[in-house]
Symmetry: C2
Subunit: 451 residues, 2 copies
């Protein structure tokens, strides 16, 4: 195909409209399904979170007809509201997914978008998964091509925030069968609403930003379908996305090897409900506890060699509420070493977060930077009051690309998330239905089963 470098939006739109998923390699289908499966579980699991409840009840007063399912909330609303609320639920416990290098959490709002739209404009499960895969691909490529955060965390934008509307517009536009010009308009409108920065970390807005992006992408595709006009070169156009969000875009990462290189293959799934850079630290603490059974009261200090990302984003002692706990390596070190767990219930109430034993223990935890460590690496050393020491080094934390969650791990995670919300029987049904989504003639059936 002959696209000039300045035609990057057109090139991506052409791929989004014309990609033939039946020619994609089997691992792409497999990993797209695993990404989808993982985040459907996260969405159900987050459904009854207090912040999801506030958002749904507040904005429900302005929502439209009962077109789409609000996962795990026992009610329906218009598809734009559903996309927002389900997208919010998908990441509210910071338990979703992360691209290996882009540090974006691509799946949640894209899944929320395609599932909401599928109940309004029915499609097969196979078409739904293709649209989802394309949305994830575009979100990841946009991040990789423009906004890969430096390892020191000094990047101020929220990568997931600013890339999500684009991916959601592509996913929705694919389901709406937009032609290339309308796909480009949808992209332009969605890009013009790209937003989000990291000052919101530690609050519910960190999950609202990508959910909002997904909703705006869906809205952009719906408007473009009806002829609402937008700039057709939203990425490379003068004063467009590439000129405002990065200095030197990586054009190959953005639009090279389309249909040959698939970013979904580099998606990973969290093993614990917290920031991705904390996960190897929890691994190390759980292993130390299992190997040495240290009495927490006799631990004098915990020294953590942390990756640059962990230091920049999660070096936060004594969080005061759940959202702050998501990004506190001290909190999770205390939980893992004292309780031997790393579960939602270890943070979901203020009581759990402010538990006196956890708060007291955190003063013993000290993280120092190891600039050579990747995000999935750490070394944790505990020193006992008698002077003895135990160390554990993790090269690749569980859930990272080189130590991935297996399908069985993902099923356990799904069940653990869904069971408290919809019960054991329904959870098993949903696990079955989600694994087999591509067999559904009407993908909306899955959404309705998650009510």
């Amino acid at each position: 195909m002959a696209f000039a470098p300045e035609q990057i939006t057109a090139r991506l739109a052409d791929f989004a409209v014309n990609a033939n998923a039946s020619r994609w390699p089997a691992p792409v289908h497999r990993e797209a399904l695993r990404s989808f499966f993982n985040v459907v579980g996260c969405t159900i699991g987050g459904a009854r979170h207090e912040m999801v409840r506030i958002a749904d009840q507040t904005l429900g007063a302005f929502a439209g007809p009962e077109q789409a399912t609000l996962f795990g909330r026992g009610r329906r609303a218009d598809i734009l509201h559903a996309a927002l609320i389900n997208g919010l639920a998908s990441s509210i416990y910071s338990f979703d997914d992360t691209h290996e290098t882009a540090v974006v959490h691509p799946a949640g709002p894209i899944a929320a978008t395609v599932l909401a739209l599928a109940e309004y404009r029915p499609v097969s499960g196979a078409d739904l998964l293709t649209a989802f895969a394309l949305g994830v691909e575009m979100t990841c490529r946009l991040c990789l091509g423009t906004t890969v955060p430096p390892a020191d965390g000094s990047f101020a934008w929220s990568g997931t925030g600013i890339s999500m509307s684009f991916g959601a517009a592509v996913a929705a536009g694919r389901m709406l069968r937009l032609d290339v010009p309308k796909m480009r308009a949808a992209m332009g409108l969605a890009l013009s609403e790209a937003a989000g920065f990291r000052a919101m970390h530690g609050t519910a807005t960190v999950s609202f930003m990508p959910a909002h992006g997904g909703q705006m992408g869906l809205r952009a595709a719906l408007l473009a379908e009806r002829g609402f006009t937008a700039g057709l070169s939203g990425l490379e156009g003068k004063s467009g996305y590439l000129s405002v969000f990065c200095t030197t875009p990586d054009r190959d990462a953005l639009a090279g090897g389309l249909g040959e290189r698939f970013e979904v293959l580099r998606n990973t799934y969290k093993a614990y409900p917290c920031g991705i850079v904390i996960q190897p630290i929890i691994d190390a603490c759980l292993k130390l506890r299992e190997a040495h059974h240290p009495d927490p009261d006799r631990i004098a200090s915990v020294a953590i060699q942390a990756s640059p990302g962990a230091m920049a984003l999660c070096n936060n002692r004594n969080p005061q509420d759940e959202m702050q706990a998501h990004v506190s390596l001290h909190h999770w070190t205390a939980v893992a070493l004292i309780r031997g767990t790393a579960r939602i219930k270890d943070m979901e109430t203020e009581t759990a977060v402010k538990s006196p034993d956890l708060m007291a223990f955190q003063s013993k935890v000290e993280a120092t930077l190891n600039p050579a460590f990747a995000a999935d690496q750490t070394e944790v050393t505990i020193t006992m009051t008698d002077g003895s020491r135990h160390a554990c080094r993790i090269e690749h934390g569980i859930g990272s690309k080189l130590n991935p969650m297996t399908n069985a791990d993902l099923e356990r995670k799904f069940f653990g998330l869904a069971e408290p919300v919809v019960g054991a029987e329904r959870s098993k049904e949903l696990i079955e239905k989600t694994w087999n989504v591509t067999a559904l003639a009407d993908a909306g059936e899955l959404a309705r089963a998650a009510a």
Copy 2:
């Protein structure tokens, strides 16, 4: 008051919550009312625009209960939809308002926000106008403090796009009587959705961006009221708004002289439905036509000395549709010299824009940069086929701060906009009601009158 420089969000929130409008100087009330009056007319005038129709009909399928009036569209919808659609209508003809130096169009989405909310949570007209004035003040200050575009137009962000959610959150938050912590949360959530860049100019998305900002600001205030959490230092916080949208914020412009210096006093109202930087050129052409009655066929060339802003944004020959015509100085030069007008009907159809006489004439029009010219300055020289020349220099175009629209001008503008949509009688009533909005016990009455 003792605020540390790093407490800029808190300082602005304190002002937004506690400002006592009864102590504001009379000119502030007067200019706030003129800003409001001007943009109510623009909103009614834009109500039946094709792009407003598309947006309303498309998104109306997902809209909620009939809580608020869609101006001039004969129907009602939920307040978030109304804020979006009315905000879109307010600027769809590029006929709204412009701050003297910030090059932001502050009033439309703020007015749409307060008017929609007033029908849901009734307030007096005086309180509505105070909330409106505060929203305009915050939008302008945010632009002035962070994003004043350089005169050469190289600034890629849409100033109106990225500042509007903040002002709308303040206006709505004031009407909801948020306390300072909740106002700060509303600000944080709204800022995290700030978006928009200039690649969308020449399409309907240029109007959608600020309308979207207004809607998001309203949503943020409603969510903050119910306890949804967001970062409380959205402006100055690490990785916050100030770190992503500017290099060196002007803290005095942002938060100096609150309650003493009022940016609404520097708001101006457009005399013609097009980009602000084209307005003096139209003035010059109309004066040349009136003075010399030049036969357009005997005009050999039109030489325009244009400001840097006019060159950067509007040096666009032969636009192909209305949205492109908004930002084409060639189009309006042809219209003014051939027709002696500069009306909506001179651009609102593709037929009008592509009129053969206009298209042919534009090849005679040449704009060159005069780097010393302000945005409201120009010099236009016409050379006749017989070699004779006529020149007209404009120091301050009509509608600029030093040559402002009078109240009578604003009334004529309002009537010209409203009459085709709601008829002459209703337009007169609305003019009366809008000038007297502060006398209304229930401000929602004004919105309902504009149905």
